[in-house]
């Protein structure tokens, strides 16, 4: 006798509700990290916003709320220009790191077939980072100065007759320095995404007769976009928060928001430093949110 329908029996056949999921363990596991970040990241940032509204006199600071510091910022040309400088340098460095880094990423991620060689090249790119950031920044001075390495080489090859003065202590020097320091953060993620492109896809496109530029425009560039976004976020975050490179390479001529914060803290002008901090945070939030709208990062991981 075959049984085609469920066996009726005397016990309860009403559906049992879902049993408690074992993911209660997940809450215990995530608690330490979440608590740490809340206490030591969210609270300090919140404090910064709060203090930006405190009353600041030359010698002390009181938690009486006022917008004086805010107005001081927006009414001052120096500070507003620092804001524009920050934005301008950010955009320029973003562009230069992309332009300088993408071809290398293309080579390492796409054209180098040997995985070990590709990793070795990437490691080569990372090695300069093991010299302390500050020392690397300093090393640019003897490179860019009037008697610096670049000028010496250019004159030795008779490309220029006179030393180029604009290489050091200008905004250009800051841009060059930052590009060199941060371009690796573009190369890494882009090379990673390019490495994940199935070579058969490109092969198929070639078989169908597409030219390299066509393939690049329609296949390679779009598929590398998540890497460009990640790289863009890394570079933006670092450049927007920068002050050391600007200070060291421009001789205090170029003032980014980061520099303002440092000097204000140095003079114990906490409220004002907080105002600049909040403005920088908003700027960064907008930039990162803008990037994240272009690509959903959690999926790519």
């Amino acid at each position: 006798m075959t049984i085609a329908t469920p066996v009726p029996d005397s016990s309860d056949t009403t559906p049992v509700g879902p049993v408690a999921r074992p993911s209660r363990a997940a809450y215990w596991l995530i608690a330490p990290g979440a608590i740490w970040m809340t206490l030591f990241l969210v609270v300090p940032l919140g404090m910064m916003v709060y203090v930006s509204f405190w009353s600041q006199t030359t010698f002390k600071i009181e938690p009486i709320l006022t917008t004086k510091s805010w107005m001081a910022f927006f009414s001052s040309d120096t500070y507003l220009s620092a804001l524009w400088t920050t934005i301008r340098i950010w955009l320029l460095v973003l562009l230069t790191t992309f332009v300088v880094g993408y071809p290398t990423a293309l080579f390492v991620g796409l054209f180098v077939k040997n995985k070990t060689l590709a990793t070795a090249l990437l490691v080569l790119c990372v090695i300069p980072f093991w010299t302390s950031f500050l020392i690397r920044v300093l090393a640019w001075r003897p490179m860019l100065g009037k008697e610096g390495a670049i000028n010496i080489i250019l004159q030795a090859f008779h490309i220029t007759r006179e030393p180029i003065e604009a290489l050091l202590f200008t905004e250009l020097s800051v841009i060059i320095g930052m590009t060199q320091i941060y371009c690796v953060f573009m190369v890494g993620p882009i090379a990673f995404m390019l490495g994940r492109i199935d070579p058969n896809v490109i092969e198929a496109a070639r078989d169908l007769g597409a030219s390299f530029w066509r393939i690049f425009r329609t296949i390679i560039l779009p598929l590398s976009m998540p890497g460009v976004i990640v790289g863009g976020i890394f570079v933006s975050v670092m450049v927007l928060g920068e002050f050391a490179t600007a200070a060291a390479l421009s001789g205090r001529k170029v003032n980014m928001l980061g520099n303002i914060i440092v000097t204000q803290v140095g003079s114990l002008k906490w409220a004002f430093a907080a105002v600049v901090g909040v403005i920088l945070t908003i700027l960064m939030g907008l930039v990162v949110a803008g990037f994240l709208r272009i690509v959903d990062l959690k999926r790519e991981l």
């Binding site: 075959t2 049984i3 085609a4 469920p6 029996d9 016990s11 559906p15 049992v16 049993v19 999921r21």
Partner: protein
């Protein structure tokens, strides 16, 4: 009750996709039950629910009469053999097999010599003597299969669930391992619940077959009953050896627009009418041959044949485009020479067909 495992109205959905819609079955002690179903029928989900890796949305699982819904997986005492074997890659064959005995919560084996003798006994039973100290990637696929079995069986579980255990092996090895698994099981007297998508494997392994149809039980029977009398057109389809027609029943005939077949006997109950004739029960006659009484048939065009060693498979197209397969066992009759695109008459005994409606 002597049922080791009883499943009552088990259901599980993932979002809007219902993988299991009320499965009920019972597995007796020392039984070998195979669970057959195409991909997507929920058979792996069923095993994972029994093992405790996931929780059902409805229904009960009774293990030795006790509801195990709130018992975590590591306390259920239900063995599991994975399709990809899931061997511990950082341990040797010996350490893989002894892992459960050494590390389990309930009564871990602490006596070194007792452990060794139990493990080596199992190593011998599954035929891995001499390989105990090898790493798991230094042995072949079939040997890994045996390690997976040994690892589970050495803890003497009451029931072992096998999730497509032969799926990762090549065809030759698969057939040989079938016999090995049956031998090992019967020697130990453990209950096996073996899930597979292959109908030949299900028929070969189980004392009973459960056919899963779209998330619920289609049929539970002995292999020959399922093979000869599938209880629904869906079950017949999963057996992969029936030609199926859908149509209407009226006036003692089954018709589907292009053909009509005389009925003998009462149709088996089913939601919609269907007609099934097994592929090896059809004979090929010259076109326009008359049908004797008690025979059913129709004209079809010959397309191609496939030689599988013991049989020929002939493919025909009926007037309405329906593809029909005829299996010609070479022990039954000699192979026939057929002309491509020529018309022939396909004939069978009306009694041999299965009708649903």
């Amino acid at each position: 009750m002597t049922d080791v495992l009883r499943i009552e109205n088990l259901g599980k959905s993932y979002g809007s996709n219902a993988a299991l819609r009320g499965v009920t079955l019972a597995v007796a002690d020392n039984e070998y039950v195979s669970l057959l179903g195409p991909s997507g029928s929920g058979k792996t989900v069923l095993l994972r629910l029994i093992a405790g890796f996931e929780q059902p949305d409805m229904g009960r699982i009774l293990f030795d009469g006790k509801d195990i819904a709130s018992v975590p997986a590591h306390e259920r005492g239900i063995g599991f053999v994975f399709q990809n074997f899931a061997l511990f890659p950082h341990l040797s064959v010996y350490d893989n097999i002894s892992f459960g005995l050494v590390n389990r919560v309930n009564a871990p084996v602490t006596d070194g010599s007792a452990l060794r003798s139990r493990v080596m006994e199992m190593v011998e039973l599954v035929g891995l003597i001499g390989l105990e100290d090898r790493g798991v990637h230094q042995i072949s696929g079939g040997q890994r299969q045996r390690v997976a079995l040994a690892r589970t069986l050495v803890s003497q579980p009451r029931i072992v669930l096998l999730d497509e255990p032969l799926g990762a092996l090549d065809a030759n090895l698969r057939t040989r391992m079938r016999g090995e698994i049956r031998r090992i099981r019967s020697q130990l007297g453990v209950t096996f619940l073996h899930v597979t998508g292959s109908e030949t494997e299900a028929l070969a392994m189980g004392d009973r077959i459960v056919v899963l149809d779209n998330g619920s039980v289609g049929q539970i029977d002995t292999p020959d009953t399922v093979y000869n009398s599938p209880v629904s057109p869906n079950v017949a389809r999963y057996l992969n050896c029936y030609n199926l027609f859908s149509g209407t029943i009226g006036g003692g005939t089954f018709s589907d627009g292009a053909h009509s077949f005389p009925l003998s006997g009462t149709p088996k109950p089913n939601a919609s009418p269907a007609y099934a004739i097994r592929q090896d029960l059809i004979t090929v006659r010259p076109s326009n041959s008359p049908l004797a009484s008690g025979e059913a048939g129709f004209a079809a065009t010959y397309l191609a044949s496939e030689y599988t060693g013991a049989a020929f498979m002939y493919f025909f197209r009926a007037v309405d485009g329906h593809i029909v397969e005829v299996e010609n066992h070479l022990s039954h009759r000699a192979p026939q020479t057929l002309d491509v695109n020529a018309t022939y008459q396909l004939v069978w005994k009306a009694d041999d067909a299965l009708v649903y409606g």
